[in-house]
């Protein structure tokens, strides 16, 4: 059985529920026959990918949904072999170059050129160009982005790019100036409630308006998360009422516990305990950034108003350190002592 998230994923632009304005805009772009390069950005769970797939469908018709997964081998200049997965249909390719880390430049150069230099095979296709969707474009290295620049202009008769990113901060200016920026905002809580209600009706779940509302606010305006929570609640309880607890993921529960412990006592022994728990989380492959962020949000309501700004300051500081790849745990020492 598919997850609710996949089962009720809208397949066409008409079926998309929120941001009608945006869907309309995408549709008119797709129909105009003159489709620009796109850079779609927005927070996760806002429906970027869904929207892009729907746009592709609008461009090429249902043929886009027949996808296959290719595995390709690329060779770097230093003769290292890279294996790389490509999701492809007849009309489009979907790649996640950040999979290969620092070698993404090779992939981008080779693959895009190869795609761009051949014409659309299918004569009956609606568009002359092919589309390459690049996931996680904000994780592309500078080199790879630089490699994109000229390719985008030179091969524009045969190739359109759709870049998906969480933020535009890491995308270099030349790319931004070559693409049409499409901002996908997160759904509002009311939007999420509407979706939950619709899905609930379709699945014949017993309904509770207040519960939906609570899920929506807990999800942080992330529709995917809201749907997963919604499914979890209904899977665990036959009948739901407004007081049914929404089970948080266990790592979140653990972080909440850590936050409590930090607040309860400031002693070296406690620091050791907290440290053990944090290592536990890390060894379960929870990204350090996520831990840090969640912990910050859990701590904030518990502390003095005067300290809040400081806490944010330090968590921002260490978040940055994390990105640069330094050791993690120092942070909590400061926290405990504050």
């Amino acid at each position: 059985m598919a997850l609710l998230v996949d089962k009720y994923r809208p397949r066409s632009l008409e079926a998309l529920t929120f941001h009608e304005n945006l869907s309309e805009r995408l549709r008119s772009l797709a129909q105009s026959g003159d489709f620009p390069h796109l850079l779609v950005y927005g927070p996760s769970g806002a429906g970027k990918k869904t929207r892009v797939v729907a746009t592709l469908r609008e461009l090429y018709g249902p043929g886009v949904e027949k996808i296959k997964i290719d595995s390709r081998v690329f060779q770097t200049t230093s003769n290292r072999k890279l294996e790389f997965n490509i999701v492809a249909s007849v009309y489009h390719l979907e790649i996640t170059p950040s999979d290969v880390g620092n070698f993404d430049r090779v992939v981008v150069q080779d693959l895009l050129k190869e795609v761009a230099q051949t014409q659309q095979v299918d004569q009956s296709a609606r568009q002359r160009f092919k589309v390459v969707v690049i996931n996680e474009a904000d994780h592309l290295t500078r080199d790879a982005q630089a490699a994109l620049r000229r390719t985008m202009e030179k091969y524009s008769p045969n190739l359109r790019l759709i870049l998906l990113a969480n933020s535009t901060a890491n995308i270099i200016a030349p790319i931004r100036s070559r693409t049409l920026l499409v901002r996908v905002a997160a759904p509002t809580e009311a939007d999420i409630c509407k979706v939950l209600k619709r899905v609930g009706n379709a699945e014949n779940f017993s309904e509770s308006e207040a519960l939906n509302q609570r899920i929506a606010s807990d999800s942080g305006r992330n529709l995917r998360r809201a749907l997963l929570m919604f499914e979890a609640v209904h899977a665990q309880n036959e009948k739901v009422s407004e007081r049914t607890p929404v089970p948080p993921p266990d790592w979140e529960a653990l972080i909440a516990q850590i936050a409590d412990e930090i607040m309860a006592e400031h002693s070296p022994a406690r620091i050791l305990q907290v440290r053990a728990k944090l290592y536990d989380l890390l060894s379960h492959c929870i990204p350090a950034t996520t831990i840090l962020k969640t912990l910050t949000w859990k701590l904030i309501p518990k502390i003095d108003d005067a300290l809040k700004a400081d806490v944010i300051k330090w968590s921002a500081f260490y978040e940055h350190r994390l990105r640069l790849g330094s050791v993690r745990n120092r942070y909590y020492h400061c926290r405990s002592s504050s």
Binding site: L29, E153, A173, V184, E319, R323
Partner: protein, 398 residues
């Protein structure tokens, strides 16, 4: 033999037919032009067309006459016409037929490691000159050297750059190099000292405005008053960005122009705030509005910035946190780009005369620090929140 002539005749006929069809295509410039980004379509064809880089152009014009060209290094912010200038120059020098054999263009999308510099570039540089066909020289000067254009040279590795050094000198008799980059500091000194440098300054308002209006006129795009100014403001002197924005906006407006039956009503509702929607339906032309430009450019609405600034004003401290965090959370969830937010917030605060200079300088330090962190890829939400809280802390200092 007869068939041979026949073939030729057929070819001629085909060419004639082609000519006819291209003439037809010219009659429908919209159909054809649509397939090409305007940035490419309106790339200047001759040096005289290049907008606003007067100094550089006069120098290059002179070289056109004397047929002597130094190695060149073009640098400047994106969208100021560096690539366009050198391409236009090469075209004027060699004309369409010799262009292929005399010019090698390499950019970051080509592999440009040290091996390429050693082989491809060197081979090209070493190659003897081909002779131009008879009478070709009447139209184009065809000076006795080739040009190697290294676009986006700042993304070349140090090694590759140093491999160029000797190549540039050895073959300088028959080959000239033109390096193009955004940051001149990334070009190693030995290379920079071998070139004459040309700085491309970002376009001033007048020139950019003229060019944009020209393009709009050629494309038959109607502009609302103030659109050009909005374009220039959003693009910050980057003409390519401005043209891309203009084209995108025109596309959006143009696409709405042709409604599908039955859905036109809905579409009009959607575009209700766009006062010109009705007009678009009737007229053949399309109107681009200021708001559509701002939407495309990802400019954050002023209200949001004002809210944030208001939230940051010093109060009892705890209150500041709650208000600020609410505004920031909303902004992040709406998907506004953090860097854009920072830029706009920065402008809002720096031009505020009510803040004393000493505080401003402290605030600027915070801004730069957060900007660096964002460039490193730190989490946007935390960073903006941190920025806002620290700035409000500084504001509360007096």
């Amino acid at each position: 033999m007869a068939s041979f002539f026949d073939n030729k005749a057929r070819a001629a006929a085909a060419a004639a037919a082609n000519g006819g069809s291209s003439a037809k295509a010219a009659a429908l410039p919209k159909e054809k032009g649509n397939l090409q980004p305007w940035v490419e379509k309106y790339r200047p064809k001759t040096l005289n067309d290049v907008t606003a880089q007067d100094h550089t152009i006069t120098v290059l014009q002179r070289t056109l006459q004397t047929s002597n060209l130094p190695h060149m290094l073009f640098y400047g912010p994106p969208g100021t016409g560096k690539t366009s200038t050198i391409l236009a120059l090469a075209k004027e020098l060699y004309g369409p037929e010799m262009f292929k054999s005399r010019v090698l263009e390499l950019n970051a999308s080509d592999e440009r490691g040290i091996s390429i510099v050693r082989e491809k570039v060197k081979d090209f540089a070493r190659m003897q000159l081909s002779n131009p066909p008879l009478h070709y020289r009447d139209k184009h000067p065809c000076p006795p050297y080739k040009i190697v254009i290294l676009d986006e040279a700042d993304s070349m590795t140090q090694d590759a750059q140093s491999a160029l050094r000797r190549t540039m000198e050895t073959y300088s008799k028959i080959t000239r190099f033109c390096l193009i980059c955004n940051y001149v500091t990334r070009i190693i000194d030995p290379l920079a000292s071998r070139c004459s440098k040309f700085r491309f300054k970002s376009l001033d308002q007048m020139n950019a405005k003229r060019r944009l209006e020209e393009i709009a006129e050629l494309e038959a795009v109607k502009l609302e008053t103030g659109v050009v100014n909005a374009l220039i403001k959003c693009s910050e002197g980057d003409l390519r960005k401005a043209i891309t924005f203009l084209q995108s906006a025109a596309r959006l407006a143009g696409a709405i122009k042709a409604p599908v039956d039955g859905q036109s009503k809905k579409r009009k509702l959607v575009e209700d705030d766009d006062r010109n929607a009705m007009e678009i339906d009737e007229a053949d032309h399309t109107t681009v509005t200021v708001s559509s430009i701002e939407e495309i450019a990802g400019v954050i609405p002023n209200n949001l910035i004002k809210d944030l600034v208001k939230a940051m004003q010093p109060k009892v401290r705890g209150v500041v946190y709650n208000v600020v965090s609410k505004v920031v959370t909303d902004a992040v969830a709406d998907g506004w780009s953090a860097s854009q937010l920072i830029i706009q917030l920065y402008q809002q605060i720096i031009y505020n005369d009510a803040i004393p200079d000493k505080q401003k300088s402290k605030i600027v330090i915070i801004f730069s620090e957060v900007d660096k962190r964002l460039v490193d890829g730190a989490d946007e939400h935390l960073m903006i929140l941190d920025l806002a809280l620290r700035v409000s802390g500084v504001l509360a200092e007096n």
